[in-house]
């Protein structure tokens, strides 16, 4: 009953936010990367007694992606300081999701440096406790950043956490992908499956930078992280490999399954997901 009341309360708040957009209006903040690319993020300061939340979108998406934005808005509404950047992917002021078919000139390292810049940006504003919330491969990238920048205490909530491996079995075993694997970094463009992209075009090295963050690499990162990692997974999410939740749990992640939820937590399962996220943050 209390759970239902809480859900109604949130629904009401979201509705009010939708009706009165100004009330939840975020500031767009901008940083310039080492490649002189302008990267932007929505920043909504929250209560000082609450940790800052870095909400990161999934692979090739933006901060405006539905589930990501809902999470950010919900958290901001809950008084959390929320910074939801859009990884530039080598594009200044990127506004939209980058198509799979686009030429991908970004790589994992650049993405992690931008995350680092945003973390530093938060810290530079006095937010010492920062919790990362990532959706899909965004959670994996936060995990990779935590590992690469040795942020041992950095707590992380992964929603529908998946690696970069192609989502379908056919893609995972495609000849093109095997061909890419044989190419040395710096070789010419490759066209191979990656994540949800059936064809991902990128220079071989840049492709490989993402490709290495597959399921196993995530499990390995989890095991070595030493920090709390909560993972919210929908039971109807078809993208993760089988027994993914078990493997995550086994690797030390706190898995929060949501019955009937898909990869994007559509429908009423979104509120379940948000309840879980808020619940994790209130701990």
């Amino acid at each position: 009953m209390a759970r239902m009341l809480g859900r109604l309360t949130r629904i009401t708040l979201v509705a009010c936010w939708l009706l009165v957009p100004a009330a939840g209006h975020a500031d767009v903040v901008e940083i310039r990367t080492a490649e002189k690319i302008a990267a932007t993020a929505d920043f909504r300061p929250g209560k000082a007694d609450k940790p800052a939340i870095l909400v990161l979108h999934g692979f090739l998406q933006t901060r405006d992606f539905g589930i990501v934005k809902n999470i950010a808005d919900t958290l901001a509404d809950e008084g959390y300081t929320v910074l939801s950047p859009t990884l530039s992917l080598g594009i200044s002021h990127r506004k939209r999701s980058l198509d799979c078919e686009a030429l991908h000139l970004h790589d994992m390292d650049v993405d992690l440096r931008e995350i680092q810049q945003w973390v530093q940006w938060l810290r530079s504003r006095g937010h010492q406790r920062i919790i990362g919330v990532g959706h899909s491969f965004g959670a994996a990238q936060l995990m990779a950043w935590r590992e690469q920048y040795r942020e041992k205490g950095f707590e992380l909530i992964g929603v529908s956490l998946v690696g970069s491996a192609p989502f379908t079995l056919e893609s995972r075993s495609s000849l093109a992908r095997k061909d890419v694997a044989r190419k040395p970094p710096g070789a010419d463009l490759v066209h191979a499956p990656l994540s949800f992209c059936e064809i991902y075009t990128a220079p071989a090295g840049k492709y490989a930078s993402y490709d290495q963050w597959g399921d196993d690499r995530i499990i390995a990162a989890l095991k070595q992280s030493g920090s709390r990692t909560d993972v919210i997974m929908g039971s109807s999410d078809k993208f993760p490999p089988p027994d993914w939740e078990a493997r995550l749990a086994k690797a030390g992640a706190h898995v929060h399954p949501i019955r009937g939820a898909n990869h994007f937590m559509d429908g009423s399962q979104e509120f379940d997901m948000l309840d879980i996220v808020l619940g994790i943050l209130k701990r």
């Binding site: 302008a38 080598g90 594009i91 078919e101 686009a102 030429l103 000139l105 220079p203």
Partner: protein, 746 residues
């Protein structure tokens, strides 16, 4: 006002032509109005097309702004400007596959902030753009309308704080306009630049320089087609109706009326055209016209009958007009018409023609003596006799009172003479005594032969025949004479003309006449007489009586001539030229004796009878007409003092009868008789005995033609009272000094 008269067929045809033209005119007006509406619509469509083009260009400008914004906001564009390492690949494969680039654009090129083309991109554009062209849409004349360029800047953010570079899209103007605008009036594919400028032209200026064509309005075309088709069908229908109506009216009305008009015209023209007779036999479909047809048919029949009768009468009249009622011969008109026809038939060649003139000798005295009825019978007899011996086909004409003529076509002189002699012989064989005429009746024939051509007239040939007739009538001739050109006869024409002129001139001017006197010598003691013999002096030529007397006779001038002579003798007597006591013997034509003025003049002359005894010689060669009347007048003259002498006794007609009927005192023996006395034969004896017989009967005798002494002795022995002749005296003009007194004849 002059009204041209046309046949009903023409009027009907004119009516339907005017009707057809009127319909055609109305159709034309309708089509013209339709074309005017079409023209208005065309102008309206032109204006609409112009506005459409302007709107399309404005839409294009907006569209370019929109698409520029799309490209500017496309992350991948900024990605390429930031990292152009794979620009070539991106442009070749990704850019067009992305679906973000409008298909309007045939190309998209990216340039860095300095305006240099990003490396690796395949393009037809230049390697560098002028950054100042940013925001402009330019038309390059060299590239044409197929490659318009639109350059715009690309910033890293919406606030345009950081310029990343430039983009240039190229597009085909026509395709672009077709894609972004729906054209109802304009034909974009027909767009063209009027007077292409040397320098690039901005899009807003390009619109003003575009020429275009307006899309044809299919509705108007369909409407025009429908109206034209309708008018064509209407015109054809009216044409067929007009032709049908024309044929109907023509068959029912015009043709019958035309036939009736022609039939009436033929009646008016007095033509007997049998085809109209046949056409009028067929009944007409219109009752009224058929009634007219029947009336004309009946009228035509009556007219035809009347015309036939008239023609018969005309033939009769014509025959009568050309026929002499007395003799039944052709008359003078027929003579002249036949001449004209013959000459006309000659065409271009000539033909020998003989004209024979016949003249009855002494017809007037016969007529006067025996009366007109007998004279007519004489003429009829002569006509019959001559006509009987004419050649087959030759015509005999009566051209005057006792003159006849015939034209002998192709006859030569021999043939003409043969026919003339045949005619003369035929007349001679006639017994005129059955008509009561005792004197022999003969004819003189003058013949003229010449080559006749179509330009010749009758006058010349007739004049020649007259001349020949003059010759024929000369005493002593055989009464047939032929006029011959170049011979004597031809000169006779002149002579005859000269004598005629001289005679008429002398009658008008008596001084031309000279009286020559020849002495009549007395043998038995009587007085001397001078016979007055007339001469005419004409142009130093002295004309003798044998030359002008035939003219006097032929012209019936006996009385006028005798009056002139009597006046001259009277003048000679009064002037004293004739010696006192010398008698004067005067020749007088018998025809003058019944002219009162002649008688009166002679009586006037008797005033000098005491000094100049007078003898009146009546020539015996001329038949004495109206014997009783003459006898009466001679009795008066005899009483008045004249002695009456019968001249030329022995030649001529019925001298014994005259002696019995006329109061004759003196018989003047003809020279021919006197010359017989020279012979010692039976004729001489008869003449001698006759002279003695006459003397014994109480007549005084005068001998003419005494030319020698032997003859003088002979006549003297026979008891002649006077002698006359060259042996005695030559005729001469009396001079006053020569005059001498002679002893009066007792």
């Amino acid at each position: 006002m002059k009204v041209s008269r046309l046949s009903i067929s023409h009027w009907v045809a004119t009516f339907f032509i005017v009707l057809s033209l009127t319909i055609a005119l109305l159709c034309g007006i309708g089509l013209y109005r339709l074309y005017e509406i079409g023209a208005d619509l065309d102008r309206s469509r032109q204006e609409s097309a112009r506005k459409e083009l302007a709107a399309a260009m404005a839409d294009l400008s907006v569209y370019l702004q929109q698409q520029s914004s799309v490209i500017t906001n496309w992350d991948e564009t900024r990605q390429q400007l930031a990292n152009p390492d794979y620009y070539g690949y991106w442009k070749a494969s990704r850019m067009h596959q992305s679906g973000l680039i409008s298909p309007v654009f045939s190309d998209l090129d990216l340039y860095d902030r300095a305006g240099f083309l990003l490396p690796g991109g395949d393009t037809d554009n230049e390697g560098r753009i002028n950054p100042s062209d940013a925001g402009k849409t330019l038309y390059y004349p060299a590239k044409g309308l197929g490659r318009i360029s639109h350059v715009f800047p690309i910033y890293s953010d919406g606030k345009r704080n950081f310029l990343l570079g430039y983009a240039q899209v190229s597009f085909d103007l026509v395709q672009a306009l077709n894609r972004i605008h729906s054209f109802s009036y304009l034909m974009p594919e027909k767009l063209a630049v009027r007077n292409p400028p040397p320098a690039p032209l901005a899009l807003q200026d390009l619109g003003k320089s575009l020429s275009y064509e307006v899309r044809a309005s299919h509705e108007i075309e369909k409407l025009e087609d429908a109206v034209t088709r309708t008018y064509t069908i209407l015109a054809l229908a009216m044409l067929i109706a007009a032709v049908t109506a024309y044929l109907f009216v023509h068959h029912l009305l015009a043709r019958p009326l035309a036939k009736l008009a022609d039939a009436i015209g033929s009646l008016q023209a007095d033509e007997a055209r049998m085809d109209y007779v046949d056409e009028l036999e067929s009944p007409y479909m219109l009752k009224e016209l058929d009634t007219v047809r029947q009336s004309i048919q009946n009228y035509r029949q009556k007219l035809s009958d009347a015309r036939l009768e008239l023609e018969n009468r005309n033939v009769t009249f014509q025959q009568q007009a050309l026929q002499d009622s007395l003799t039944g011969l052709y008359n003078r008109r027929a003579f002249e018409e036949d001449w004209e026809n013959l000459v006309r038939a000659l065409a271009g060649h000539s033909e020998s023609m003989a004209l024979l003139l016949f003249d009855c000798d002494h017809f007037k005295p016969i007529n006067d003596t025996y009366g007109h009825q007998v004279g007519d019978l004489v003429l009829q007899t002569i006509a019959g006799a001559v006509n009987d011996v004419m050649r087959s086909g030759d015509r005999l004409y009566r051209i005057g009172g006792d003159e006849f003529a015939t034209l002998l076509w192709g006859a030569d002189e021999h043939m003409a003479l043969l026919i003339a002699e045949r005619c003369q012989e035929s007349v001679r064989k006639e017994d005129f005594r059955r008509l009561g005429v005792q004197e022999p009746v003969s004819i003189s024939i003058g013949i003229a032969i010449d080559e006749i051509s179509k330009d010749d007239d009758l006058t010349r040939l007739q004049a020649h025949a007259d001349s020949a007739m003059y010759q024929a009538k000369r005493p002593g001739n055989k009464k047939i004479a032929i006029y011959r050109m170049g011979e004597a006869s031809s000169e006779d024409v002149l002579v005859a003309s000269l004598e005629t002129n001289a005679l008429y001139q002398a009658l008008a001017e008596p001084e031309m006449m000279e009286i020559h006197f020849q002495r009549m010598q007395p043998l038995t003691g009587g007085g001397e007489y001078l016979e007055a013999l007339t001469r005419i002096r004409h142009n130093d030529t002295l004309l003798m009586p044998d030359r002008f007397l035939p003219v006097v006779l032929s012209r019936r001038l006996e009385a006028e001539f005798d009056l002139a002579v009597i006046r001259l003798i009277h003048s000679s007597i009064e002037s004293g030229t004739i010696p006192s006591g010398t008698g004067v013997s005067i020749n007088l034509s018998a025809q003058s004796l019944h002219r009162p003025e002649v008688i009166a003049q002679l009586i006037e002359l008797t005033r000098h009878a005491e000094r100049h005894p007078l003898i009146l010689e009546i020539t015996e060669t001329s038949l004495v007409p109206q014997l009783a009347e003459i006898t009466h007048f001679l009795g008066i003259l005899r009483t008045s003092g004249f002695k009456i002498a019968l001249d030329d006794f022995g030649s001529g007609y019925s001298p014994l009868r005259y002696l019995a009927d006329l109061p004759v005192d003196i018989i003047k023996f003809d020279m021919g008789l006197i010359h017989q006395l020279k012979n010692n034969d039976r004729t001489s004896m008869v003449v001698s005995d006759f002279a003695r017989l006459m003397r014994d009967a109480g007549y005084s005798l005068i001998a003419e033609g005494v030319e020698d002494e032997a003859m003088l002795q002979k006549v003297s022995s026979l008891g002649f009272a006077h002698v006359q002749g060259f042996h005695i005296d030559m005729p001469h003009v009396l001079q006053p000094v020569e005059a001498k007194v002679v002893k009066l004849f007792n």
